[in-house]
Structures are given as C-alpha cells and as structure tokens.
Symmetry: C2
Subunit: 455 residues, 2 copies
Amino acid sequence: MNPKAYLDNNKQTRLDELFEFLRFPSISARSEHKEDINACAEWLSTHLNKIGVKSRLMPTGGHPVVYGEILNPAAGITVLYYGHYDVQPVEPLNLWKSTPFNPIVENGYIIARGATDDKGQLWTHVKAMEAYMATGTAIPVNIKILFEGEEESGSENLEKFVKDNKDLLKADIIVVSDSAQFGQDRPAVTFGLRGIAFVEAKLIGPDRDVHSGSFGGSIANPVNMLCRIIASFHNKDGRVAIKGFYDKVRKLSKFEKKQFARLPHKDKEYLKKVGSPTLYGEKGFTTLERIWSRPTLDINGITGGYQGEGGKTIIPSWASCKITMRLVPDQDPQDICKKLAKHIRKNCPKSVKCEVTIHGGAPAVVVPTDGPWLKAAGEAIKAGFGIEPLFTKEGGSIPVVGTFKSVLGADTLLLGWGQNDDNAHSPNERFAIKDFERGCYSALALIEELAKVRA
Amino acid sequence: MNPKAYLDNNKQTRLDELFEFLRFPSISARSEHKEDINACAEWLSTHLNKIGVKSRLMPTGGHPVVYGEILNPAAGITVLYYGHYDVQPVEPLNLWKSTPFNPIVENGYIIARGATDDKGQLWTHVKAMEAYMATGTAIPVNIKILFEGEEESGSENLEKFVKDNKDLLKADIIVVSDSAQFGQDRPAVTFGLRGIAFVEAKLIGPDRDVHSGSFGGSIANPVNMLCRIIASFHNKDGRVAIKGFYDKVRKLSKFEKKQFARLPHKDKEYLKKVGSPTLYGEKGFTTLERIWSRPTLDINGITGGYQGEGGKTIIPSWASCKITMRLVPDQDPQDICKKLAKHIRKNCPKSVKCEVTIHGGAPAVVVPTDGPWLKAAGEAIKAGFGIEPLFTKEGGSIPVVGTFKSVLGADTLLLGWGQNDDNAHSPNERFAIKDFERGCYSALALIEELAKVRA
C-alpha cells in the first residue's frame, strides 16, 4: 500500500483521533487549564511516537513545546512543521450550539474549539507523515516538528526557545498551516506577511485634571495636543507623513501585481464585510495592494479625560494613544519606531510633557516568488484540492515567521486549509471535513514536492 | 442699639448657631440623607422665622427650597439672596482631622463640611438681617431669600423653580456669597462669569473593531479621523478656528483691562499651582484675560479603541469626544454649538459616519461695570473688611446666575468671603472666623449700600 492509499483507507480513524485531540480543553491563556495543556501535550507527543515520529516534550518558560523528528540521512532537505496545540478561550458559552470540547459533526463541519485553529490543521501534516511510516515508505525529507502551547496567549517563550534550540530546529523550509484559504474552494499559498511596529505616546499637561472653566485658555490641553500630533501622521493623500517612513519600502513586484489582480476580490463585497461607509486608503493603490503590500499607521486606542456618561468640565491631566504600523519589506521595525518617536517629539509643543514608549515589532516576511518553494507548495495544493492555487499575501503579522527567518534563516510556507468564516476565536469554531481531507492529501503531496526541490 | 452694635455683641451666639447649622449632614447627592436634608431645611426656615424673616419650605421636584422674605413697602428696591444649605459628600473620611459634621475651631478656622460652601457664607447675610430685626431698625430694602438644597447635586430643579415662581422671586439685584476672595485679605467682587456650551461627537467606521493587520490601509480609522477634526478646532495662534466663533465676542473693556492689570497675579505662581510645563493660550492676551474674558474650546474627554495594558491590533469601530467651550458676552450657546456641529460635519470625511450631539449650555454673565451695583458692593466690602476691594471675573460658569438674568432680568453680585484653599469639596473644609466676621459686617453694609442705589 502506498501512502495515498493509506489516507484513502483511514478516513474515519484520523477523524476519531482528531476528536480525541479536540477534547483536551488546552486553553493556554487560563492558568486553571495548565493541567489540561500538559495532558494535551503528553497525548500529542505519545501519538507522534506511536506513528513513528521520535517525539518529546521540551520545557519553555511557559507551556511545553512538543518536539518531533524523522531523520532520513539520505534526504536532501529538512522541513520544520510549526503548529500549536493550545486553543482560545470559549466564552461566551451560551452562543455555542454544542459543548466546545465535545466535538460534533453538523452539515459536514467539525464543530469544536480548536477545530481549525490549529489542531485540525496541524493534524493534516501528522497524518501525512503517518501515511509514510505506516506503509513503510521512506520519507524523502528530514522532518522536524515544533508544536507550541502558547500561540493563543502571545507565544511569549517561543522566540527564546527557537534561539536556544537553533541547531536542533535547523531547517531549509518551514511549513505552517494556521490560516485560511482565500475563499470556498480557493486554496492559496500566502507568500508574504506584513510586519508590525508598536509605539505608545503619552502627553502630560497639568499635574491633575483641572477645572476647564477656571483654567481653560491658559494652559495646553493634552488631548487637543495629542490629536494635533496624530493628525500630522498622515498627509491628505492617505500617505504616512513621517520623515523617512517610505525610505526602504520595496516596490510592488510584477508577480505581486499580477497575482493580486487575478484574485476574485470585489471592493463592494469587501466593504460590506467590514461595514465602513466607504473604502479609504493611500492614493494610487488597489485595496489588496493597500492591505498586503503597503505600510500603514493606525491608532489602536486613544484615551484621555472623562469618558463616562454626561459631561465633566475638566482639562485632562494627560492623554495617551497606542500606535501600530504595519510594515512591508524592507522596513526595519526599530528604525520605524525611532522615526515615529522622533516625529512625535518634534511635533510636541513645549506646553505639554511627552513620553514615548517604543515596544518594537517584527519585520515583514516574504517567500521569494522566483524560488522553488512557492512552486512546490502550489503543486501540492493542486494535487490535494484538484484546484489551481492562488498566491496571496496577508496584512497581519505572524511574529514567529519572522523569528524563523532571522534565527533559522529559513522561509515559511503558509498553507491554510481553513476558511475565514470558520469562527476561529469565536463561538462555534468549525472546520469543513472536506477541507480537512483535502488538506491531508495536500500535506502528503507537499512532502514529495519539497523533496524534489533539491533532488 | 444699632445693627452694627448688635453684630459686635453677638459674635459667640452667631458662631454657636452656625455650628448647629453645620451639624446637619445635608448631603444632597446621597438619597440616604434625604431626612437630614429635610431636617436641615426645617431648622433653617424655623430660624429665619424666629429672627423675623417670614419663611416657608417650598417643594421642588427634589429637595425643598427655603424661601423667606422681609417686605418693606417703603423700600425702593428688592434684593434676592441666593445660597444653598446642602453640602458635598465627605469621603475620604480618613483624611479628615475632625468629624465632618461635628465642627471644631483650630487656629482660627471653623473646620466642618459646609463651613465655607455654603452654610458659613449664607449665614453672614442671615445674621445681617437679624441685626436689623433684633434692633428694631427698619430694613431699607425688600428682602427675598432663596436657599436651595440641590446645588451640590446639579441644581436640577432650580431653573424650573425660578420660572414657576417668577413673580414671587422678582428682584432688582441678586446677591450670592458662594465663592472666594482673590486671596488672603484680598476681598473681591466678581463681575462676570464665562458661559459654557457642550457638544459630543462620535465617528463610526467599521461595524465592529477589526484586525488592523487584515484591514489596515483599506478603511478609515475613526480615531485618526477624529483627531484630524479636533486638530482643526484651533489655528496655530491658539485661536478657535470655527467659522463665526468670534463674531459676537465682546472686546475687553477698559475697566476690565485696568482691573485685571492691578490684580496681584503672577504667571509663575499660577503655573506652579497648575503644574503644566508652560502656559499656553491665545496670542495677544494675558493669562487673566485668557481665562476670564476670552472664549475657549477644550476636549474634556476622548475615547476610542483599546485602552488597557499592552497592545491590541485593531482599527476601532468608533471614537468619541466631549467638547466644552467657554463663552464670553455676547456669544449664544445654541448658536456656538451649531457652528461647532457644522464644522465637525464639514470636516468629517465620507469614509466614517458622524454623530454630533448638542447639549447646549449657558451664556456668559456680567454685571455692568458702569452701573451702581458694583459700586455698592465695593463700598460694602470696604466697610466690612477695611480693605479696598478687587474687581475680578471667573472663568467657570454658575448656571443659576444665567437663569436669574434670563428669567428675572436681574444681575447678580458675587461676593465671596472664603478662600480658594478652604477645601470646599475636599476633606477638612474650613472657613476662617476672621473672614466669616468680616463677611457679616460687609453683608450688613451691603444692605445699606444697595438701599442707596435708588434712594
């Protein structure tokens, strides 16, 4: 029996096993679930060993990493699979149609917390490996596995873990299935993510809230002054007006422009999904170009003075805001943070005190579009889905991908088998069995395709 | 015995009576003190009747008004005294050196809740009336009294009460002692208050908070847009940049400029008191001119997006702010609110929805500086304090003064016997016995001086 036949013959078994996996309430953000997290990691590692992946738990500052490997001295390349066995909290429980950790199947969907994010998706790769091992077929690549237990609580210990185990994790390419297809029957390879840079600013005026009648007119109001600074962040064309912000921005490539243009994107539908009155953004770019390949600056939160019902006649003592910028290649997060900080300080009047906190960030990542990896991923998807894949980017950031690039020097293939409306992070999280299945076959094909890269 | 001699002879008695008055915990904002408020009003009305003021309680939608009158058909004018018998809450109790409703005397100060705000101050006028009645001296003016019980909880029922009892309250001049001197041994007559206008604005973008990675760059961020609008409220000279805002602003009079210039104000000391890095305001005006005679616009509060610890990468669904403007003669609150609303709507981009709520306000008030009332008040202070009075204005608003002007058509004399550091609204509220006494003698002289106005 070949690996593909093995997949054909074990459909119910791998679903049953996935259900077992989904029954662990491995909520990483809640300390009361520490035991559940550990039990889930133990179970996963045991399962890997059972199917022939040499696995062990590795401690971190938080929840353990499930590490695994199948080494094949004859193989030309090493593939590192990243995923996470922890899940989001489940509240509000009353909106669930089932019990979050008691998976059910309804209309072809598995409904459970973790179904798509990320237990169901990482399971496709585990089952592909099993198909090789169970049929005695030599795996044509070296396989390494890093399944973490803290993704949903910020992956706080992951960067250190990767750095501390740089040699162990060394790989030629990383594979991550923790995202979505572009749409129904629209499998995609994500070849780039924007980076992020995070800065907080606080302006301080009087040493307490003071009466706006008694003092209004004689001192600067920190809220008004902060708004003035924030207003200076953009020019009227929607471009970021911070000196040097665009200095290192890489222009859109022909490949990008072409791929984006062929995507079944409609501004009208997109706008409906987001609910804003109109679209708005940098002049001269399409929506997809704006969200995937152009840098941005957004205030994520602003606060200052009285915010309750009715009025309170004060000049607030202070006002603050949280600013994140989405970065594109080759912007450097630290450099961009510093440029923003300089802009804020320069535009802050002497009549208020200014405190800027630089939190740093992560750079944008791209998989080279002219290299062999994207092609391999595309072929694997074609094999698994029977559909020509799309090539997309993503506006958000997955910091670990940046870490893999900077520490291990390897690119990451982002192959999402889920859908955007699978309710990751929401009640009734789901994963279509059809997508799960096609993911398994794609994962199997991916091993073969990657093996060809340096064959 | 003449009234002045009566005051000389009854120092301890009037202090003992004031202490009795101060023992009522008449906290208007707390429903559990409703009985205390009523008991206090009853006691006050009984006391007025005892000294010869015909008094009764009059119901309102909330706590009762203590009304009183001494009518003298021979008198040329009618004076309405306004004050309040309710007090602020007393928390935090641990910061009091005494029990708030058990008055003590320390270093020449009466320490108790209500000592200066306003029981102690209104008491000076009551005792001046008593001095006439007890000595059988004909009072040369008609006296009316309106002591309310809801000043510290917003005077919610007062405007309606004044309107409903317009004829009963009809007067030529109003006297209020519920403020402070300009400083130690710096008695003052306040001849003007700024008005106020209150508007709220809310901008709405996406129909929920959305991921700033996935959507950033393609839609307008309501916080950024609100800041842009707020930044447009002022020009770089610190002037309000709303069309027509200054159209009706009355220029500073020679009297104002002269009075302000002679006040013992020092920018450096003022700045120290407020704690801002520097002063800031409209170009071309002094600090006192800015806070007393020029209109302003301040954001009292702004809110939008994530405000907790750390970051949250969202484009907030909405952002809102509370805006108050301080008005000067002859700005109309409704007109100014409308002009601001128009400015906001005009400057709001189509990419966000805009909601403006006009709350209205109260106009500025001034006592004509060329009329007889200010002169009479000045003479009374000179008699009571032995000090030449200052003529000041106040940046805040006292809405009831506007009501008296608009409903009764009468100006108000604001004669504060207290000090700014008497801890009104704070623990250890106090009132110097020396100021209380000089207030009593000034109140007595005021009756004579006002009688001369139309003599």
